[in-house]
Symmetry: C2
Subunit: 454 residues, 2 copies
């Protein structure tokens, strides 16, 4: 396995492309197959249609499976359409069940149905079962390739079996002890197996109290278990104790990445449009609807202000502080939103915690509101056209704005989460707009009331 | 190892607390020590001062090490101050070097110096060495407890050694083949070792091309290597090939969490204040400075508008669209910012990519600007006091605002990243303010120029 560094990547790529061009199959295979799959993958992605076709010829379906499994879904779809049926099927047979399932859930159903019919029956049944789980659950993440041992097997028997048979399992670092009905009764880590004496039985060294997840558990919960317990894999077990599969830590790393993008999308209203690789047409198509929606929501704020047009016509100075109120509403609300979104992602919430958080955020908003309110009043006194009344108006409004924004930035995402509404409703810009309206309403109401003192 | 679920946690806690209260050491030890350290930890955190003191008496320093290592830094500091010297030192000796280092970098230097003098000399030297690495580098993350084997050792010799000696190593799933000068020459995974024939030599089955990181590598780079290659650990190696330690995947899970909080902090100006557990006083202390800073920056925008007071006094209607322009500036800028921040986190950037992204975002901004600009012009025509000129003013301004905001939301974080300026400068609110200023400046400039047509 050769290592590619940033420095020599271009060189590697250059030579590999040259071999392809010269149709030097032997040289290509020799150099290419020695690379780590991740590097093979990176180089494969740079290839033209023609070069890719040559790769399918030079590299066996079995060898190609590793490359395929590292591609993004949209790349997989493109590549898959270039493969002939028998090559594609042979390659699929090499892939772990969870990856096939992942891929199948992305392609049209008639194609996946067709492939399932052509595939090995046991494997096909397996995948059909996995496909029946909802996206983002432990069931859809798990792989069914794991190692089981019997309670009565000894350490040396197990080691001998692993040595002789090898294994297709995704990890052999945990061995799952199941009885004849498939019920999970214990777990032995390979570490424990290696350090146990050779004639010890599995049932003697296994841990009997097993930390597992249900196939219906949300991926966030699975990720939390693996992170909290520093596991390399967690077993997926039905309510009656039957073991279905395992979710491994490398799958969780991908889950975490996905969830982070979701969190950030939530705060910044770019849900599902964080990809760097899409065209500007694609990016526009994903982001523009949000902007248009926000534009219409923004018209509400405009409508609100227009009802105070008479006030503004009398004291134009008042318009000066509109962006200040609006921006502070946005800033404070987003701070609270970020706290809650991050908190929900780390799954730290029960009733007591929600209550404690609400209390904390309210007090925080109160203190920040008082201090910023006083500060801005003083500034309003000091500026050229400033006076006490202006200070009072803007100070009070800012206080209300900050207090309200902190609370709404906390409560709205919590409600959305609790009632499983689309989290986008709680995204930054929406909360900002609500806070804007409250802030500006307060501002202009007080201003209109005190107009003849200004 | 017993499993605690949400359902039985309270019951477990109740009984354990009862045993402590009744000073029933035997019962407490029996039940408590059978729990997974993560669960021991959760229950320990709920204990009063008095109960904790009893735990230190009932549980040996060796056993307590696991609990200690799962605590947050601030909890570790509190607990540590409650331990007597010999217990504390014995416990430290049980902890992996990377965790001691982590803890020592959080406590006053005179205390860590004192402890280092009292500790076992080899371990102390080890930790001094680790402490010399800058925070967030591979060197500061790594642990020095790993398994090395000699090239000439056979599979059965290595297995025998692991079985006899056991090991304190953080992972035994990779065995590192080093020659007599400590130079890393190969890696054997335990999986390969298990499936190899017993009399094979390590040098025969090892992978010679090793993917490693430098001790100075940023934690983000380390995390990327582990994620991309699906590793359980990566060796940390000096430029002359000497192996210093390993970084394991569970450390990386913590790194990713930390980096995510940073990303979100960047977008929402709550840097370092996302913790749910702090008091409102603490939260205010961390978040208020940002708000005050943003308040002062907001005064610039106010100042800018005040220079157009005469225009507003003449056509009060113009004030109505101030929040719309300001909010759209914020929304568009934040979308681009989120794309870049996420992209930088996943480390996908070289010169070509930066250029491509800039081009894409500019086009995206152009298209979104044109469409939103036309839309808002039409709306401005349709509202009661609307007319063509107002439509022209607001449409053009919104177009400029969206185009500029998309570009600035892309360029500013990239510049900040490139020149390693504090990323907070590129946070959402700061970019929003700049975009506000440009948007409103355009709006009022055009409005002032076309004033006598309105």
């Amino acid at each position: 396995m050769k290592k590619i560094t940033v420095k020599n990547r271009e060189e590697f790529t250059y030579y590999l492309f040259l071999y392809l061009k010269n149709e030097d199959e032997e040289k290509f295979r020799e150099e290419f197959l020695e690379l780590h799959p991740t590097d093979q993958n990176e180089i494969f992605k740079l290839m033209s249609n023609e070069k890719r076709k040559r790769v399918y010829k030079y590299v066996t379906a079995r060898e190609f499976a590793d490359i395929f499994s590292g591609l993004q879904h949209y790349e997989q779809k493109m590549v898959f359409s270039e493969l002939d049926d028998s090559y594609a099927l042979e390659m699929l047979n090499e892939l772990p069940a969870d990856e096939i399932t992942d891929f199948f859930s992305e392609i049209p159903e008639h194609i996946s149905q067709y492939l399932l019919e052509k595939m090995d029956k046991t494997e096909a049944d397996n995948i059909k079962h996995l496909l029946s789980y909802k996206e983002n659950t432990a069931g859809s993440l798990m792989t069914t390739e794991f190692v089981t041992v019997l309670p009565s097997q000894t350490v040396s028997e197990i080691l001998e079996r692993l040595r002789m048979e090898g294994t297709d399992a995704e990890t052999i670092y945990y061995l799952y002890v199941t009885n004849d009905t498939g019920k999970l009764t214990g777990v032995v880590s390979l570490r424990e197996l290696i350090t146990a004496s050779l004639n010890e039985k599995a049932e003697k060294i296994m841990k009997e109290q097993i930390i597992s997840v249900s196939p219906l558990a949300d991926q966030q919960e699975v990720s939390k278990v693996i992170k909290d317990y520093d596991f390399l894999a967690v077993p997926v077990v039905t309510s009656n104790g039957k073991m279905l599969g395992i979710v491994t830590v490398d799958d969780i790393l991908d889950v975490i990445e996905e969830e982070t993008s979701e969190e950030i999308g939530e705060i910044s209203a770019v849900k599902g449009a964080l990809d760097l690789e899409v065209s500007s047409m694609e990016a526009t198509k994903k982001r523009l609807p949000w902007l248009i929606l926000l534009l219409f929501i923004g018209m509400f704020t405009a409508g609100l202000i227009s009802s105070f047009e008479a006030t503004i016509a009398e004291v134009a100075m008042l318009a000066v502080f509109i962006p200040l109120i609006a921006d502070m509403a946005g800033n404070t609300g987003t701070q609270s939103l970020a706290v809650v979104v991050r908190g929900l992602a780390l799954d730290k919430f029960d009733r007591t915690k929600v209550f404690r958080l609400l209390k904390r955020e309210s007090f925080t908003g109160l203190m920040m509101g008082i201090i910023c309110g006083i500060l801005v009043s003083i500034i309003a006194l000091l500026i050229p056209q400033g006076n006490v009344i202006l200070g009072l108006i803007i100070g009070t409004s800012l206080f209300v704005t900050i207090l309200f924004s902190t609370v709404s930035g906390t409560v709205i995402p919590l409600i959305v989460h609790k009632f499983k509404i689309d989290p986008a409703v709680a995204s930054g810009p929406f909360i900002t707009t609500i806070n804007d309206i409250i802030g500006l309403l307060t501002y202009f109401s007080i201003a209109t009331a005190l107009l003849h003192y200004l």
